[in-house]
Symmetry: C2
Subunit: 259 residues, 2 copies
DNA sequence: GGTCGGCAAGTAGCATGTTACTCTGTTAGA
DNA sequence: TCTAACAGAGTAACATGCTACTTGCCGACC
Protein backbone atom coordinates (compact mmCIF):
# COMPACT_ATOMS: atom_id res chain seq x y z
CA UNK A 1 0.00 0.00 0.00
CA UNK A 2 2.08 2.81 -1.31
CA UNK A 3 1.27 6.46 -0.86
CA UNK A 4 0.98 7.87 -4.33
CA UNK A 5 2.28 11.40 -3.91
CA UNK A 6 4.18 11.86 -7.13
CA UNK A 7 5.93 15.16 -6.69
CA UNK A 8 8.42 14.87 -3.88
CA UNK A 9 11.08 12.31 -3.12
CA UNK A 10 10.24 8.87 -1.86
CA UNK A 11 11.70 9.73 1.51
CA UNK A 12 9.31 12.63 1.97
CA UNK A 13 6.36 10.47 1.06
CA UNK A 14 7.46 7.93 3.63
CA UNK A 15 7.76 10.63 6.28
CA UNK A 16 4.14 11.56 5.62
CA UNK A 17 3.07 7.92 5.59
CA UNK A 18 4.73 7.17 8.91
CA UNK A 19 3.40 10.36 10.48
CA UNK A 20 -0.11 9.30 9.56
CA UNK A 21 0.53 5.79 10.82
CA UNK A 22 1.59 7.23 14.17
CA UNK A 23 -1.38 9.59 14.27
CA UNK A 24 -4.02 6.94 13.64
CA UNK A 25 -2.35 4.43 15.92
CA UNK A 26 -1.17 1.93 13.31
CA UNK A 27 2.28 2.34 14.80
CA UNK A 28 2.00 2.14 18.54
CA UNK A 29 4.43 3.69 21.01
CA UNK A 30 6.71 1.28 22.81
CA UNK A 31 6.66 -1.50 20.27
CA UNK A 32 9.92 -2.42 18.58
CA UNK A 33 9.79 -2.14 14.80
CA UNK A 34 12.45 -2.65 12.18
CA UNK A 35 13.40 -0.78 9.04
CA UNK A 36 13.60 -4.12 7.18
CA UNK A 37 10.01 -5.11 7.79
CA UNK A 38 8.64 -1.62 7.35
CA UNK A 39 10.37 -1.29 3.98
CA UNK A 40 8.92 -4.65 2.96
CA UNK A 41 5.42 -3.64 3.98
CA UNK A 42 5.58 -0.38 2.04
CA UNK A 43 7.19 -2.19 -0.85
CA UNK A 44 10.35 -0.12 -1.25
CA UNK A 45 13.96 -0.44 -0.22
CA UNK A 46 15.33 0.24 3.23
CA UNK A 47 17.13 3.48 2.42
CA UNK A 48 14.23 5.91 2.07
CA UNK A 49 12.49 4.32 5.04
CA UNK A 50 15.59 4.72 7.16
CA UNK A 51 16.07 8.31 6.03
CA UNK A 52 12.46 9.13 6.84
CA UNK A 53 12.81 7.60 10.29
CA UNK A 54 16.02 9.51 10.90
CA UNK A 55 14.16 12.72 10.25
CA UNK A 56 11.42 11.72 12.65
CA UNK A 57 14.06 10.72 15.18
CA UNK A 58 15.55 14.19 14.87
CA UNK A 59 12.14 15.67 15.59
CA UNK A 60 11.83 13.46 18.66
CA UNK A 61 9.09 11.22 17.33
CA UNK A 62 10.98 7.93 17.24
CA UNK A 63 14.20 6.53 18.68
CA UNK A 64 16.63 4.10 17.10
CA UNK A 65 18.20 1.34 19.18
CA UNK A 66 21.33 0.00 17.64
CA UNK A 67 21.01 -3.54 16.32
CA UNK A 68 17.53 -3.81 17.79
CA UNK A 69 15.12 -1.60 15.88
CA UNK A 70 13.24 1.62 16.50
CA UNK A 71 10.37 2.65 18.72
CA UNK A 72 7.71 5.28 18.44
CA UNK A 73 8.25 7.35 21.54
CA UNK A 74 5.54 7.60 24.12
CA UNK A 75 5.08 11.27 24.88
CA UNK A 76 5.51 11.81 28.59
CA UNK A 77 3.51 14.23 30.68
CA UNK A 78 6.68 16.19 31.15
CA UNK A 79 7.26 16.48 27.42
CA UNK A 80 3.69 17.48 26.71
CA UNK A 81 3.99 20.20 29.30
CA UNK A 82 7.10 21.46 27.54
CA UNK A 83 5.31 21.42 24.22
CA UNK A 84 2.46 23.56 25.49
CA UNK A 85 4.85 25.95 27.16
CA UNK A 86 6.59 26.43 23.83
CA UNK A 87 3.32 26.78 22.00
CA UNK A 88 2.35 29.55 24.39
CA UNK A 89 5.62 31.32 23.81
CA UNK A 90 5.27 31.11 20.03
CA UNK A 91 1.61 30.99 19.06
CA UNK A 92 0.32 33.76 21.30
CA UNK A 93 2.68 36.40 19.88
CA UNK A 94 1.96 34.98 16.43
CA UNK A 95 -1.75 35.53 16.97
CA UNK A 96 -1.03 39.03 18.15
CA UNK A 97 0.94 39.80 15.03
CA UNK A 98 -1.54 38.05 12.73
CA UNK A 99 -4.35 40.26 14.02
CA UNK A 100 -2.13 43.31 13.75
CA UNK A 101 -1.29 42.61 10.11
CA UNK A 102 -4.60 41.03 9.11
CA UNK A 103 -5.75 42.01 5.63
CA UNK A 104 -9.09 41.24 4.06
CA UNK A 105 -7.80 38.03 2.48
CA UNK A 106 -6.73 36.59 5.80
CA UNK A 107 -9.99 37.56 7.46
CA UNK A 108 -11.99 35.83 4.76
CA UNK A 109 -9.88 32.68 4.91
CA UNK A 110 -10.00 32.48 8.68
CA UNK A 111 -13.75 32.89 8.68
CA UNK A 112 -14.10 30.12 6.12
CA UNK A 113 -11.95 27.71 8.11
CA UNK A 114 -13.99 28.29 11.24
CA UNK A 115 -17.18 27.68 9.27
CA UNK A 116 -15.68 24.50 7.82
CA UNK A 117 -14.75 23.34 11.31
CA UNK A 118 -18.28 23.88 12.53
CA UNK A 119 -19.85 22.04 9.64
CA UNK A 120 -17.39 19.17 10.09
CA UNK A 121 -18.33 19.13 13.77
CA UNK A 122 -22.00 18.84 12.89
CA UNK A 123 -21.21 16.01 10.49
CA UNK A 124 -19.09 14.34 13.18
CA UNK A 125 -16.27 13.98 10.67
CA UNK A 126 -13.32 14.03 13.01
CA UNK A 127 -10.65 13.80 10.33
CA UNK A 128 -12.10 16.67 8.35
CA UNK A 129 -12.48 18.65 11.54
CA UNK A 130 -8.85 18.13 12.48
CA UNK A 131 -7.74 19.16 9.02
CA UNK A 132 -9.57 22.48 9.26
CA UNK A 133 -8.42 23.01 12.83
CA UNK A 134 -4.87 22.58 11.61
CA UNK A 135 -5.49 24.85 8.62
CA UNK A 136 -6.85 27.61 10.85
CA UNK A 137 -3.85 27.53 13.14
CA UNK A 138 -1.50 27.48 10.16
CA UNK A 139 -3.23 30.49 8.67
CA UNK A 140 -2.67 32.45 11.84
CA UNK A 141 0.95 31.35 12.10
CA UNK A 142 1.67 32.10 8.46
CA UNK A 143 0.17 35.55 8.87
CA UNK A 144 2.81 36.26 11.49
CA UNK A 145 5.28 36.49 8.60
CA UNK A 146 7.87 34.32 10.25
CA UNK A 147 8.50 31.04 8.43
CA UNK A 148 10.78 29.61 11.04
CA UNK A 149 8.06 30.10 13.60
CA UNK A 150 5.56 28.30 11.39
CA UNK A 151 7.86 25.32 11.01
CA UNK A 152 8.68 25.13 14.69
CA UNK A 153 5.07 25.12 15.73
CA UNK A 154 4.12 22.56 13.10
CA UNK A 155 6.25 19.94 14.85
CA UNK A 156 4.89 20.91 18.25
CA UNK A 157 1.31 20.67 17.09
CA UNK A 158 2.02 17.26 15.60
CA UNK A 159 3.05 15.96 19.00
CA UNK A 160 -0.15 17.37 20.45
CA UNK A 161 -2.21 15.65 17.78
CA UNK A 162 -0.48 12.34 18.39
CA UNK A 163 -1.78 12.35 21.93
CA UNK A 164 -5.17 13.63 20.93
CA UNK A 165 -5.59 10.42 18.98
CA UNK A 166 -4.68 8.05 21.78
CA UNK A 167 -6.30 9.85 24.69
CA UNK A 168 -9.82 10.36 23.54
CA UNK A 169 -11.02 13.65 24.85
CA UNK A 170 -14.62 13.19 25.88
CA UNK A 171 -14.86 16.40 27.84
CA UNK A 172 -15.37 18.46 24.72
CA UNK A 173 -17.45 17.83 21.66
CA UNK A 174 -16.10 18.89 18.30
CA UNK A 175 -18.56 21.77 18.39
CA UNK A 176 -17.12 22.87 21.73
CA UNK A 177 -13.66 22.95 20.24
CA UNK A 178 -14.85 24.87 17.22
CA UNK A 179 -16.59 27.42 19.45
CA UNK A 180 -13.38 27.83 21.36
CA UNK A 181 -11.78 29.24 18.22
CA UNK A 182 -14.45 31.86 17.74
CA UNK A 183 -12.90 34.55 19.97
CA UNK A 184 -9.64 34.20 18.06
CA UNK A 185 -11.36 34.52 14.70
CA UNK A 186 -13.42 37.46 15.94
CA UNK A 187 -10.30 39.20 17.18
CA UNK A 188 -8.66 38.79 13.79
CA UNK A 189 -11.77 40.06 12.06
CA UNK A 190 -11.70 43.12 14.29
CA UNK A 191 -7.96 43.48 13.89
CA UNK A 192 -7.61 43.50 17.64
CA UNK A 193 -4.15 42.10 18.45
CA UNK A 194 -4.62 42.07 22.21
CA UNK A 195 -7.84 40.14 21.97
CA UNK A 196 -6.25 37.71 19.52
CA UNK A 197 -3.31 37.07 21.82
CA UNK A 198 -5.60 36.60 24.79
CA UNK A 199 -7.89 34.27 22.87
CA UNK A 200 -4.99 32.17 21.66
CA UNK A 201 -3.59 32.05 25.16
CA UNK A 202 -6.83 30.78 26.63
CA UNK A 203 -7.24 28.26 23.86
CA UNK A 204 -3.78 26.75 24.29
CA UNK A 205 -3.93 26.73 28.08
CA UNK A 206 -7.34 25.09 28.01
CA UNK A 207 -6.37 22.45 25.46
CA UNK A 208 -3.13 21.73 27.26
CA UNK A 209 -4.79 21.48 30.62
CA UNK A 210 -7.38 19.00 29.37
CA UNK A 211 -4.79 16.86 27.61
CA UNK A 212 -2.51 16.81 30.62
CA UNK A 213 -5.34 15.87 32.96
CA UNK A 214 -6.45 13.14 30.60
CA UNK A 215 -2.93 11.75 30.43
CA UNK A 216 -2.57 11.72 34.18
CA UNK A 217 -5.98 10.07 34.59
CA UNK A 218 -4.81 7.39 32.18
CA UNK A 219 -2.12 6.58 34.70
CA UNK A 220 0.77 8.29 33.01
CA UNK A 221 3.58 9.19 35.36
CA UNK A 222 3.06 12.81 36.32
CA UNK A 223 6.33 13.41 38.15
CA UNK A 224 7.94 16.63 37.05
CA UNK A 225 4.62 18.15 36.21
CA UNK A 226 4.37 21.76 37.21
CA UNK A 227 0.78 22.72 38.05
CA UNK A 228 1.65 26.24 37.03
CA UNK A 229 3.19 25.21 33.72
CA UNK A 230 1.12 27.72 31.82
CA UNK A 231 2.47 30.73 33.62
CA UNK A 232 5.87 29.60 34.83
CA UNK A 233 7.69 31.33 32.03
CA UNK A 234 6.22 34.67 32.82
CA UNK A 235 5.50 36.82 35.79
CA UNK A 236 2.98 35.70 38.36
CA UNK A 237 2.89 39.26 39.48
CA UNK A 238 2.54 41.90 36.84
CA UNK A 239 5.36 44.33 36.54
CA UNK A 240 5.85 47.28 34.27
CA UNK A 241 7.94 47.15 31.18
CA UNK A 242 8.50 43.44 30.94
CA UNK A 243 6.89 40.19 29.89
CA UNK A 244 3.40 39.56 31.09
CA UNK A 245 0.71 37.08 30.39
CA UNK A 246 -3.01 37.32 30.60
CA UNK A 247 -3.84 36.38 34.16
CA UNK A 248 -5.99 33.26 34.40
CA UNK A 249 -9.65 34.06 34.66
CA UNK A 250 -11.21 33.20 38.01
CA UNK A 251 -13.20 30.34 36.51
CA UNK A 252 -10.28 28.87 34.61
CA UNK A 253 -9.40 25.64 36.34
CA UNK A 254 -5.68 25.13 36.57
CA UNK A 255 -3.68 22.52 38.36
CA UNK A 256 -6.37 20.81 40.37
CA UNK A 257 -5.93 17.60 38.47
CA UNK A 258 -3.53 15.63 40.64
CA UNK A 259 -5.47 15.34 43.84
CA UNK B 1 41.24 13.97 8.65
CA UNK B 2 38.62 12.16 10.61
CA UNK B 3 37.06 13.43 13.76
CA UNK B 4 37.85 10.90 16.43
CA UNK B 5 34.76 11.01 18.61
CA UNK B 6 34.42 7.34 19.49
CA UNK B 7 31.12 7.16 21.31
CA UNK B 8 28.39 8.09 18.89
CA UNK B 9 27.59 6.94 15.40
CA UNK B 10 29.63 7.96 12.40
CA UNK B 11 26.74 10.05 11.14
CA UNK B 12 26.70 12.15 14.29
CA UNK B 13 30.43 12.73 14.08
CA UNK B 14 30.03 13.88 10.50
CA UNK B 15 27.25 16.28 11.52
CA UNK B 16 29.64 17.87 13.99
CA UNK B 17 32.46 17.91 11.46
CA UNK B 18 30.35 19.63 8.82
CA UNK B 19 28.93 22.10 11.32
CA UNK B 20 32.45 23.14 12.23
CA UNK B 21 33.42 23.33 8.58
CA UNK B 22 30.53 25.69 7.96
CA UNK B 23 31.32 27.77 11.03
CA UNK B 24 34.97 28.34 10.18
CA UNK B 25 34.25 28.91 6.53
CA UNK B 26 35.81 25.76 5.08
CA UNK B 27 32.48 25.13 3.43
CA UNK B 28 31.32 28.34 1.85
CA UNK B 29 27.70 29.24 1.13
CA UNK B 30 26.63 29.12 -2.49
CA UNK B 31 29.25 26.67 -3.72
CA UNK B 32 28.00 23.36 -5.07
CA UNK B 33 29.46 20.36 -3.23
CA UNK B 34 28.84 16.66 -3.65
CA UNK B 35 28.36 13.83 -1.21
CA UNK B 36 30.78 11.70 -3.27
CA UNK B 37 33.73 14.06 -2.92
CA UNK B 38 32.98 14.94 0.67
CA UNK B 39 32.88 11.27 1.63
CA UNK B 40 36.20 10.75 -0.14
CA UNK B 41 37.78 13.66 1.68
CA UNK B 42 36.65 12.45 5.07
CA UNK B 43 37.63 8.92 4.12
CA UNK B 44 34.33 7.14 4.74
CA UNK B 45 31.43 5.95 2.61
CA UNK B 46 28.70 8.12 1.21
CA UNK B 47 25.91 6.92 3.48
CA UNK B 48 26.82 8.59 6.78
CA UNK B 49 27.79 11.77 4.96
CA UNK B 50 24.46 11.86 3.19
CA UNK B 51 22.57 11.16 6.40
CA UNK B 52 24.44 13.94 8.18
CA UNK B 53 23.66 16.37 5.39
CA UNK B 54 20.00 15.37 5.41
CA UNK B 55 19.83 16.32 9.06
CA UNK B 56 21.44 19.67 8.34
CA UNK B 57 19.06 20.14 5.42
CA UNK B 58 16.17 19.56 7.80
CA UNK B 59 17.55 22.25 10.08
CA UNK B 60 17.78 24.63 7.14
CA UNK B 61 21.56 24.73 6.95
CA UNK B 62 22.04 23.15 3.52
CA UNK B 63 19.89 22.34 0.54
CA UNK B 64 20.08 19.35 -1.78
CA UNK B 65 19.63 19.82 -5.52
CA UNK B 66 18.68 16.62 -7.23
CA UNK B 67 21.40 15.22 -9.46
CA UNK B 68 23.50 18.31 -8.92
CA UNK B 69 24.82 18.39 -5.39
CA UNK B 70 24.18 20.38 -2.24
CA UNK B 71 24.84 23.93 -1.16
CA UNK B 72 25.44 25.56 2.17
CA UNK B 73 22.66 28.10 2.37
CA UNK B 74 23.49 31.76 2.57
CA UNK B 75 21.46 33.17 5.41
CA UNK B 76 19.36 36.02 4.11
CA UNK B 77 18.61 39.20 5.99
CA UNK B 78 15.03 38.09 6.15
CA UNK B 79 15.93 34.76 7.72
CA UNK B 80 18.26 36.32 10.24
CA UNK B 81 15.49 38.66 11.26
CA UNK B 82 13.22 35.67 11.79
CA UNK B 83 15.88 33.95 13.86
CA UNK B 84 16.25 36.89 16.21
CA UNK B 85 12.51 37.27 16.52
CA UNK B 86 12.30 33.64 17.61
CA UNK B 87 15.22 34.02 19.95
CA UNK B 88 13.44 36.92 21.60
CA UNK B 89 10.29 34.88 22.00
CA UNK B 90 12.18 31.96 23.54
CA UNK B 91 15.30 33.18 25.29
CA UNK B 92 13.81 36.14 27.14
CA UNK B 93 11.19 34.05 28.97
CA UNK B 94 13.89 31.41 29.52
CA UNK B 95 16.07 34.01 31.22
CA UNK B 96 13.11 35.08 33.31
CA UNK B 97 12.50 31.55 34.46
CA UNK B 98 16.20 30.79 34.97
CA UNK B 99 16.51 33.73 37.35
CA UNK B 100 13.29 32.71 39.07
CA UNK B 101 14.52 29.18 39.68
CA UNK B 102 18.21 29.97 40.12
CA UNK B 103 19.89 27.91 42.83
CA UNK B 104 23.39 28.38 44.18
CA UNK B 105 24.85 25.89 41.70
CA UNK B 106 23.55 27.80 38.70
CA UNK B 107 24.73 31.10 40.11
CA UNK B 108 28.24 29.75 40.59
CA UNK B 109 28.38 28.24 37.12
CA UNK B 110 27.08 31.35 35.42
CA UNK B 111 29.60 33.50 37.26
CA UNK B 112 32.41 31.18 36.19
CA UNK B 113 31.39 31.27 32.55
CA UNK B 114 31.33 35.04 32.51
CA UNK B 115 34.78 35.13 34.10
CA UNK B 116 36.03 32.64 31.51
CA UNK B 117 34.60 34.80 28.75
CA UNK B 118 36.39 37.83 30.06
CA UNK B 119 39.72 36.08 30.39
CA UNK B 120 39.35 34.65 26.89
CA UNK B 121 38.62 38.18 25.69
CA UNK B 122 41.80 39.46 27.27
CA UNK B 123 43.75 36.63 25.65
CA UNK B 124 42.06 37.41 22.32
CA UNK B 125 41.19 33.74 21.97
CA UNK B 126 38.07 34.03 19.86
CA UNK B 127 37.30 30.31 19.73
CA UNK B 128 37.55 29.92 23.47
CA UNK B 129 35.46 33.05 23.92
CA UNK B 130 32.72 31.73 21.66
CA UNK B 131 32.71 28.43 23.52
CA UNK B 132 32.10 30.12 26.85
CA UNK B 133 29.55 32.50 25.33
CA UNK B 134 27.68 29.47 24.07
CA UNK B 135 28.05 27.70 27.43
CA UNK B 136 26.63 30.68 29.30
CA UNK B 137 23.57 30.88 27.10
CA UNK B 138 23.06 27.12 27.36
CA UNK B 139 23.24 27.29 31.14
CA UNK B 140 20.48 29.86 31.20
CA UNK B 141 18.36 27.90 28.75
CA UNK B 142 18.85 24.64 30.59
CA UNK B 143 17.88 26.30 33.85
CA UNK B 144 14.52 27.08 32.30
CA UNK B 145 13.72 23.37 32.70
CA UNK B 146 12.38 22.98 29.21
CA UNK B 147 14.46 20.66 27.03
CA UNK B 148 12.56 21.32 23.86
CA UNK B 149 13.26 24.99 24.28
CA UNK B 150 16.96 24.31 24.73
CA UNK B 151 17.11 22.29 21.53
CA UNK B 152 15.13 24.80 19.51
CA UNK B 153 17.36 27.67 20.50
CA UNK B 154 20.52 25.66 19.88
CA UNK B 155 19.74 25.52 16.17
CA UNK B 156 18.84 29.20 16.08
CA UNK B 157 22.05 30.21 17.78
CA UNK B 158 24.01 28.10 15.33
CA UNK B 159 22.65 30.12 12.45
CA UNK B 160 23.64 33.30 14.26
CA UNK B 161 27.14 31.98 14.80
CA UNK B 162 27.49 31.06 11.14
CA UNK B 163 27.06 34.69 10.23
CA UNK B 164 29.27 35.91 13.02
CA UNK B 165 32.10 34.07 11.30
CA UNK B 166 31.59 35.58 7.86
CA UNK B 167 30.60 39.10 8.78
CA UNK B 168 33.36 40.23 11.04
CA UNK B 169 31.89 42.43 13.68
CA UNK B 170 34.37 45.21 14.34
CA UNK B 171 31.97 47.39 16.24
CA UNK B 172 32.44 45.43 19.43
CA UNK B 173 35.54 43.97 21.02
CA UNK B 174 35.29 40.63 22.74
CA UNK B 175 35.45 42.48 26.03
CA UNK B 176 32.48 44.59 24.98
CA UNK B 177 30.48 41.48 24.28
CA UNK B 178 31.47 39.94 27.58
CA UNK B 179 30.43 43.08 29.42
CA UNK B 180 27.11 42.94 27.69
CA UNK B 181 26.40 39.69 29.52
CA UNK B 182 27.08 41.16 32.93
CA UNK B 183 23.57 42.52 33.58
CA UNK B 184 22.16 39.09 32.81
CA UNK B 185 24.56 37.35 35.15
CA UNK B 186 23.93 39.95 37.85
CA UNK B 187 20.19 39.46 37.52
CA UNK B 188 20.55 35.72 37.94
CA UNK B 189 22.82 36.23 40.94
CA UNK B 190 20.18 38.45 42.47
CA UNK B 191 17.40 36.08 41.45
CA UNK B 192 15.66 38.98 39.77
CA UNK B 193 13.58 37.53 36.93
CA UNK B 194 12.45 40.85 35.53
CA UNK B 195 15.97 42.15 35.33
CA UNK B 196 17.13 38.91 33.72
CA UNK B 197 14.42 39.08 31.08
CA UNK B 198 15.18 42.71 30.37
CA UNK B 199 18.92 42.06 30.17
CA UNK B 200 18.44 39.15 27.79
CA UNK B 201 16.08 41.22 25.69
CA UNK B 202 18.57 44.05 25.32
CA UNK B 203 21.38 41.64 24.59
CA UNK B 204 19.52 39.86 21.79
CA UNK B 205 18.13 43.04 20.26
CA UNK B 206 21.56 44.63 20.30
CA UNK B 207 23.34 41.62 18.83
CA UNK B 208 20.66 41.18 16.20
CA UNK B 209 20.67 44.82 15.24
CA UNK B 210 24.44 44.88 14.75
CA UNK B 211 24.44 41.68 12.71
CA UNK B 212 21.58 42.87 10.52
CA UNK B 213 23.25 46.21 9.90
CA UNK B 214 26.52 44.51 9.08
CA UNK B 215 24.80 42.19 6.61
CA UNK B 216 23.06 45.07 4.88
CA UNK B 217 26.29 47.05 4.71
CA UNK B 218 27.88 44.03 3.06
CA UNK B 219 25.36 44.48 0.29
CA UNK B 220 22.98 41.73 1.24
CA UNK B 221 19.49 42.23 -0.10
CA UNK B 222 17.48 43.84 2.66
CA UNK B 223 14.03 43.61 1.12
CA UNK B 224 11.51 42.26 3.55
CA UNK B 225 13.41 43.66 6.48
CA UNK B 226 11.19 45.13 9.12
CA UNK B 227 12.93 47.98 10.96
CA UNK B 228 10.76 47.17 13.94
CA UNK B 229 11.53 43.44 13.86
CA UNK B 230 12.40 43.43 17.53
CA UNK B 231 9.04 44.58 18.71
CA UNK B 232 6.70 43.52 15.94
CA UNK B 233 5.52 40.46 17.80
CA UNK B 234 4.43 42.38 20.82
CA UNK B 235 2.55 45.49 21.66
CA UNK B 236 3.92 48.85 20.69
CA UNK B 237 1.55 50.30 23.18
CA UNK B 238 1.39 48.67 26.56
CA UNK B 239 -1.89 47.19 27.53
CA UNK B 240 -2.99 45.49 30.69
CA UNK B 241 -3.24 41.78 30.97
CA UNK B 242 -1.45 40.77 27.83
CA UNK B 243 1.94 40.34 26.28
CA UNK B 244 4.37 43.16 26.66
CA UNK B 245 8.01 43.73 26.00
CA UNK B 246 10.51 45.97 27.62
CA UNK B 247 10.19 49.24 25.76
CA UNK B 248 13.36 50.21 23.91
CA UNK B 249 15.50 52.57 25.89
CA UNK B 250 15.75 56.07 24.42
CA UNK B 251 19.38 55.57 23.42
CA UNK B 252 18.80 52.18 21.85
CA UNK B 253 19.21 52.65 18.11
CA UNK B 254 16.74 50.64 16.16
CA UNK B 255 15.99 50.66 12.48
CA UNK B 256 18.21 53.49 11.31
CA UNK B 257 20.35 51.16 9.27
CA UNK B 258 18.78 51.39 5.84
CA UNK B 259 19.10 55.06 5.00
C1' DG C 1 15.38 -28.23 38.35
C1' DG C 2 18.70 -24.76 37.25
C1' DT C 3 22.60 -22.67 34.91
C1' DC C 4 25.62 -21.98 31.24
C1' DG C 5 27.10 -21.80 26.33
C1' DG C 6 26.61 -21.44 21.81
C1' DC C 7 23.90 -21.17 17.80
C1' DA C 8 20.52 -18.95 14.74
C1' DA C 9 17.74 -15.04 13.72
C1' DG C 10 17.22 -10.27 13.35
C1' DT C 11 18.92 -5.64 13.43
C1' DA C 12 21.17 -0.77 12.83
C1' DG C 13 24.91 1.19 10.83
C1' DC C 14 27.95 1.50 7.19
C1' DA C 15 29.60 0.38 2.35
C1' DT C 16 28.76 -0.21 -2.32
C1' DG C 17 25.97 -0.88 -6.62
C1' DT C 18 22.38 1.10 -9.86
C1' DT C 19 19.41 4.43 -12.12
C1' DA C 20 17.70 8.43 -14.10
C1' DC C 21 18.63 12.84 -14.24
C1' DT C 22 21.34 17.61 -15.12
C1' DC C 23 24.87 20.11 -17.04
C1' DT C 24 28.89 21.03 -20.09
C1' DG C 25 31.39 20.86 -24.01
C1' DT C 26 31.84 19.43 -28.63
C1' DT C 27 30.67 18.50 -33.13
C1' DA C 28 27.61 17.94 -37.14
C1' DG C 29 24.52 20.48 -39.89
C1' DA C 30 22.30 24.87 -41.60
C1' DT D 1 28.28 32.09 -37.53
C1' DC D 2 24.73 29.95 -35.31
C1' DT D 3 21.89 26.03 -33.83
C1' DA D 4 20.97 21.57 -32.30
C1' DA D 5 22.00 16.92 -31.48
C1' DC D 6 24.88 14.14 -28.78
C1' DA D 7 28.22 12.16 -25.77
C1' DG D 8 30.39 12.14 -21.40
C1' DA D 9 31.01 13.30 -16.68
C1' DG D 10 28.96 13.98 -12.37
C1' DT D 11 25.18 13.68 -9.21
C1' DA D 12 21.13 12.67 -5.75
C1' DA D 13 18.05 9.21 -4.85
C1' DC D 14 17.22 4.66 -4.33
C1' DA D 15 18.52 -0.44 -4.00
C1' DT D 16 21.28 -3.86 -2.22
C1' DG D 17 25.38 -6.02 0.14
C1' DC D 18 28.09 -6.53 4.35
C1' DT D 19 29.40 -6.50 9.42
C1' DA D 20 29.29 -6.42 14.18
C1' DC D 21 26.21 -6.49 17.52
C1' DT D 22 21.96 -8.00 20.59
C1' DT D 23 18.69 -11.30 21.86
C1' DG D 24 16.13 -15.50 22.49
C1' DC D 25 16.11 -20.31 22.27
C1' DC D 26 17.62 -24.90 23.01
C1' DG D 27 20.28 -28.37 24.58
C1' DA D 28 24.16 -29.94 27.46
C1' DC D 29 26.08 -30.08 31.83
C1' DC D 30 25.86 -29.48 37.02
Amino acid sequence: MQSSRGGATLTEQVVATIREAILNGKLEPGTLYSVYRMADEIGISRTPVREALLRLADAGMVRFERNRGFRVLRTSVRELQEVFQLRLLLEVPAAYRAAHLADEELRVKVRKELAAMQSAAIGHDENLFMAHDRALHELVLAASQNNKLVNSVRDLRFITMTLGASTVDRSRTLSDIADEHRPLVDAIENRDPNAAATAMHHHIVHTGQLLLEQLIKDGRDSSGLDPKWASSFTADVQFPGSYQIPQPLPNEQVGDSNK
